[in-house]
Symmetry: C2
């Protein structure tokens, strides 16, 4: 593969000899007292920035490192590991890198492999997490930490790098705190990964994988748009991965300019009902039909349903009502519907009755092991187009609409998670990994690898470490108050959303599609090295 | 757009002065007498090849050309038109090119635009058919030909180029014959377009768009494979566009090496039942589970259902039974099922009963305007995974299977039809269009533009024209015998299928996935200029 030969561009700060500059002490974004109490040994640490050191550094000590991929795949994971490998070896050739297999479970269950140059070279600049696999085991319990410590001690590993999303980085910090409290000489470093884009804050400009995944989605959305604009006869309802935030949908909208893009955070903030969301889409269909355009593109974030306040309340009541309810489980379908309607509070019963039968039924079925409804099984794109179709039929009867409405449906998620990284993600990930080796060398623990200034050329990127506690607050999760990294939702007063809002009426009525095409690795920089629109707007606010 | 600057590589035969070399008279692939009778004026014409002419050609006459995009979109259509434009202008700067809008209907209804250099330059190397739009109106009737002639005469157009699939090219020949029989001075030239790959024969090595579309599908299939091989917990059932033949599925299988790829033509040839197809997939799932691998990839051609002889027979009987049957339409769902089961012949009743309820019901609903079931509404990928799941549950009870089976579903079609053309399709399409201008200049009518020798560098491609009647035979279509271009199905003794069959057992058990990545336009030739595996195997049989 030609792509394997690509040499990621390393920030100048990480070339040759490196010196750490300490910033001031830090505090968490909220709930400072509680977080400090929970992390007495890793709270309040200073931010740290690496700069080029003129003086030669004394011989680095020999150390071994373990690396873990945690949670859903994101493009560039292999480059974090190859950057880490190169960084660790650059510090001392004797250093070794071990990979724990199939996620955090590999640490607990002592499944690992030594990552040699031969293995690493096979995976440079490739997508996927298959070099060591990933998994969703949560590292939360002291028994797990102790089991992990056995193998870390055995392999003489003095630092673990956990590549994961917000939860995995929270757990990395819990682990760091645990080992530090016990005076165990194992450092823990996190790396910010998620295609969803919700691990982002003042210190972490973007999580890796978001750039590549949104470009892959925008490629196929653009292809569908071009088809739509050639055939001029279908409305395409395209659902995009991202349950907890709408960054992916927003970024794809900025890249491709669809007729409609729903942003869950806006739906929630405006307290819209599902019917109101449907109405908004139907109005665009009607307006386009009046111009003779019976086609269009609608982007829908996967998490929409859970952001609609009325549906959220309904789901919460259904979860309470139906979890472990053998009486209900024994009923016939029709009786179940009556049971639900008569037992729900009036507002929720109304929301339930407003849903298409199939979707309403889905909400009462297939509960997960916690007794909760599996919202991800709802095909939101079909739900929405079905409801829009009904609304249009009404409007037709009222002589307010006279078009044709033929919907088609798509869902893009798995298509983007393991794409080969864009040049941006290849460079960014490599820098994150290389930088993590430097953080280890400095003795840091409970830090996240941080590479910033990302809209500038990669030589000017700023590298360093951020104390993970700095990003934390206390939130209720599964009924319990927990210290967690604050999730970054789409901010309605943020520059990316504002850029979208400023254009969406024009995009709705007119056909302003952009067809970005496939990610290019070899061409001119203006083609190959564009960042996302999101980070562009965030860093160029004026 | 940087891509717009790409200059398609023109075959050497079309550089500068060009001379036509006539071959021997031709005959149709079958039914020679009938075809000859139907096409007395366009039958038996010689093949024609262009070669470089040393002597300067006399001043070319001035002529105007019309162009039509017919049927489903395929990558490269805009390059056929830009090649045609450049070819026509190279012959004489006074020549004009008109585009008829939204397909053959534009000719009949006199909707057109003159294609100027300004318009053409905006669309070079782009995907889609949006430059003039496409449509599915069939040019079949003398009234249409006469209506078309009005506008052709008015615009002084002496040649029409129809860019379309097998049916559209058949109709191009009918039109050519009609005008020639009437001694009307309008030539008709066809161009072979379809992503399905079923317009292919001894003379036409591949239809345009197949290369790009299969590369886009293989990109996303590869991404899903990498995800599958990282998470190691899902079976992905991926349906691929292509109802009338399985070339797309086969090509994608050769590019990506999935665990299973079903080839409809093989299912039909072996007279398999749906249950047997399900069993074959289930066996692969079981075999992989025995090695601890509860994940995999299954590719399914869109047309599968209609190739299964038992289902085909069932659908045929259902179409007869239910078309315009008000008694049936008035029944409740349960009664409808009983009605169908009791009225079907025993063999078809058995096939009907073997289907999942939802699918069986689908076959009795939603008839198209001809009273036929809309097979395309059946989600074959879900049907198959549901039946495989049931089969696995049985095997588990029989203690013959002890794995986990979590299926996910995808359908790729619209994602590939309007992608920006690969370098291959950009060059091939441009050559087809440029070559069509030469065919017009030679006075040809009833010919298809032909560019061959396609696995060689484009400078060595052989250009010329093939009499369309040469590809025809007589087939029954919608109950009538008609002269049509013979559809190319996947040949089970052809080199591409054999290459697949030779490896599929290895691919089933082991994980041999290939991740082709996105189409590259700017990189080294080995990355950017690969042809499809299909044409590679066809032209390198040994």
């Amino acid at each position: 593969m030609q792509r394997a030969a690509y040499q990621p561009k390393l920030p100048a700060a990480l070339w040759g000899n490196v010196k750490a500059v300490m910033g001031a002490a830090t505090q968490s974004v909220a709930d400072q007292e509680e977080i400090k109490k929970l992390f007495p040994n890793t709270y309040g640490l200073p931010e740290l920035t690496f700069v080029k050191a003129d003086e030669a550094v004394a011989e680095n000590k020999v150390f071994n490192v373990g690396v873990i991929l945690s949670g859903g795949q994101a493009p560039g994971g292999h480059n974090v590991i190859s950057g880490l490998f190169d960084g660790v070896k650059a510090l001392n050739k004797e250093n070794r890198l071990y990979g724990f297999l199939m996620g955090p479970g590999g640490l607990v269950d002592h499944n690992y492999v030594e990552l040699t140059a031969e293995i690493i070279d096979e995976y440079r600049n490739t997508g996927g997490f298959d070099i060591i696999g990933s998994g969703r085991t949560k590292l939360e319990k002291p028994e797990q930490f102790e089991k992990g410590l056995e193998i870390l001690t055995k392999l003489n590993i003095s630092a673990v790098v956990i590549i994961g999303g917000d939860d995995s980085n929270t757990n990395a910090c819990v682990l760091a705190e645990y080992y530090k409290a016990k005076n165990v000489p194992v450092q823990v470093i996190g790396c910010p990964k998620t295609i969803d884009g919700d691990l982002k804050n003042e210190q972490i400009e973007t999580s890796f994988g978001f750039d590549t995944a949104t470009k892959v989605y925008s490629e196929v959305i653009g292809n569908i748009m071009r088809d739509c604009n050639s055939a001029k006869k279908y409305w395409h309802f395209i659902k995009l991965m991202g349950r907890s935030a709408s960054h992916i949908a927003l970024e794809c909208a900025l890249q491709t300019q669809p007729n409609v893009c729903i942003i869950s955070e806006e739906v929630e903030a405006k307290n819209l009902t599902l019917n109101q969301v449907v109405d908004q889409v139907a109005q665009v269909v009607v307006a386009r039909a009046e111009q003779g355009n019976n086609y269009g593109i609608v982007l829908i974030p996967e998490g929409l349903i859970e952001f609609i306040p009325a549906i959220k309340a309904l789901i919460a009541e259904l979860n309470d009502m139906l979890a472990h309810n053998p009486e209900f489980a024994a009923m016939e379908a029709a009786a179940q519907r009556d049971y639900v309607l008569s037992h729900l509070s009036p507002a929720n019963a109304e929301a339930f009755a407003s849903l298409p039968m199939g979707v309403a039924r889905q909400l009462t079925l297939d509960r997960d092991p916690h007794g909760n409804v599996q919202v991800s099984l709802i095909e939101t794109e079909k739900l929405l187009s079905e409801m829009v179709g009904k609304r249009l039929a009404q409007l037709k009867e009222e002589k307010k609409y006279n078009g044709k409405f033929s919907p088609l449906h798509h869902f893009f998620g798995y298509e983007g998670r393991c794409a080969a990284p864009s040049n941006f993600d290849a460079d960014y990930c490599y820098a994150l990994g290389f930088n993590a080796a430097q953080l280890i060398n400095c003795g840091c623990t409970g830090y996240m690898s941080s590479v910033r200034n990302l809209t500038k050329p990669s030589s000017e990127w700023i590298c360093g470490g951020i104390p993970i506690t700095m990003m934390m607050n206390i939130e209720r999760r599964h009924g319990e108050l927990k210290p967690v990294i604050k999730k970054a939702l789409v901010e309605l007063d943020g520059a990316p959303f504002k850029a979208f809002a400023a254009h969406r009426e024009e995009w709705a009525l007119n056909t302003c599609y952009i067809y970005p095409g496939p990610i290019q690795y070899f061409g001119p920089a203006e083609v190959c090295d564009q960042t996302t629109r999101t980070i562009f707007y965030e860093q160029n606010k004026d």
